[in-house]
Symmetry: C2
Subunit: 329 residues, 2 copies
Amino acid sequence: MIRRPTIHDVAAAAGLSKSTVSLVLQGSPAVHANTRMLVRKTMADLGYVYNRAAAGLRSAKVGLIGLVINDLRNPFFTEFATSVQMALSARGYATVIANTDEDPVVQAQVIGSMIEHGVSALVISPTYGAPDAFAPVQVPTLQVLRHLHPDTQRFPFSAPDFALGSRLATQHLLAAGARNIAFAGGLPGRAITVERMQGYVDVMQENNLSTLALPGRASRAFGRQVARTLARDHGAVDAVLCFNDLTALGILAGCAELGRAVGREFRVVGCDDIEECLQSFPNLTSLRCDIAGFGCQTAATLLDWLENGVSPQPETRTPISLVCRASSP
Amino acid sequence: MIRRPTIHDVAAAAGLSKSTVSLVLQGSPAVHANTRMLVRKTMADLGYVYNRAAAGLRSAKVGLIGLVINDLRNPFFTEFATSVQMALSARGYATVIANTDEDPVVQAQVIGSMIEHGVSALVISPTYGAPDAFAPVQVPTLQVLRHLHPDTQRFPFSAPDFALGSRLATQHLLAAGARNIAFAGGLPGRAITVERMQGYVDVMQENNLSTLALPGRASRAFGRQVARTLARDHGAVDAVLCFNDLTALGILAGCAELGRAVGREFRVVGCDDIEECLQSFPNLTSLRCDIAGFGCQTAATLLDWLENGVSPQPETRTPISLVCRASSP
DNA sequence: CGACCAATTTGGAACGTTCCAGTAGCCATT
DNA sequence: AATGGCTACTGGAACGTTCCAAATTGGTCG
């Protein structure tokens, strides 16, 4: 493995000074077009590659952005992470992605490591139970999807408007004729659970209907279990609104297993509108929050902050809409 | 945002030289225990954070590892990527993850960007159609899951033994009584498709049975379409072996839609054994390749190469086993 | 007491870039 | 012919580490 050529080698080969080569790298208009071309050609000939670490040392910006995700295996977060990463990549930034698996210890470690690597900014979808996770952070940081740190001035927060979403979904179910609507999934006590339930609770109360919450891990396995629980203990329930699509898809699987039809008699609505909603049977009604768009927007906001100093709004809510499909006709 | 303290500041505050502080940082046994403690304490007091970029400049190793994935949205690859990342993270390396979305242009760009960032090594699950993608790579690089670059001496290859897997699956279906077995999914002509079909084709020929291939994108949507095609045009087919689990799950959804029972009369087998196999209805028989374990092993192999100079085998195949579930009793 | 040794600590030169304060050359203006 | 103002380029100091050779300390031995 031979030493890779540096700016000096390029300069020497082109008969110029390293400063001129550096200017070319930065696209400075001060260098003559001919010189620029000569430098470019020399670089290509020598197989020169830019060393960002060295550049960052001097200019204190490395073009690296950290993305910390609490559960990367969940397709909702995968979609978010990939869209952020691809948007950043298109703007010339590299993304360090890390999965914390909802573990505060891992999260602290990962954030520390990213800071050591000199990331210019962070996007964090935090794990609960680690309120001090943001403590060591000095760089611009966005908290997304989950509102953990109270100081949204320092750590602007953005997420889809889940409360509105569950309101829309509940109204839709009522309009379709359902009366005994349950809410399934979401660990009890967590802010995100409260938020995703909010609209449901409000609308049910406005209509003097009683609520039924079945809290639990927002997974397929739990959804499947919910299908059984409902069939056994809550025969009157005629619709379920779910914390997320995974739970809803689990319920669909559970109903298939029990031989229970989903549709007119028993309606299921998910949340997030992951791609699979279109591929399940029956197709799943869901709340579309355009997570890919949300990811792109997150990337854009961050770069605007980083490059142009435009401070983001302390709190942003993006729109959410209901996509009606066969699981709740 | 104030300048963060450096090794010099720590040294000054502790009344020592920067060299001593550096030695402490590297855990050198040459420094006295008391001195070490003093330095540690001073660092904590000042809120010192290590600057890896600067260190890497001198020592030419940054502790960054690049992970390039062709389709991060596919749960199979997500599982792989997260397990690699978490294994590396546990050993103190940070991981730059990028999704190429099967786009050779994006792939070339992200590999270039990673090299600029000075990654110490790369793990690439490559996109087809970009045979020169590895050209600019000077660092230790593993190609995983897909065999693209022929020079496995330079770019060692490892993957589960898919050909063996499809052999096992086909034998299982034959033993269960199926005779008209189709193979669904996988883009025609690609090495990975040929490989995943290999065992199927071999076993069918050994038994003088004719094969039926239904090539296509290995997605849920395609699987669903396959279910329709089979019902309409190939009534005699009594079992399907799939390129991957997504295709198989799509078939399950398609069958549910058509009201066709999956089980004794019509058997479905997937490949990869993603988590969802246990949550589908009916539960999906699949080929377990322990992708999480494969990810950990990949990380271990890479670090062994990087840290101890142990060159990996040019080609490694990891075991694969059949997990029999309700979709093919 | 001087020499020698081991255990610690230290100063300065890298590493590959950017940034700043120039310099050189050229042309137009006085 | 001197001055000023461009444009294009340049030399050297910085950035925060690591690495190496060398210096310092405190013993021990003859």
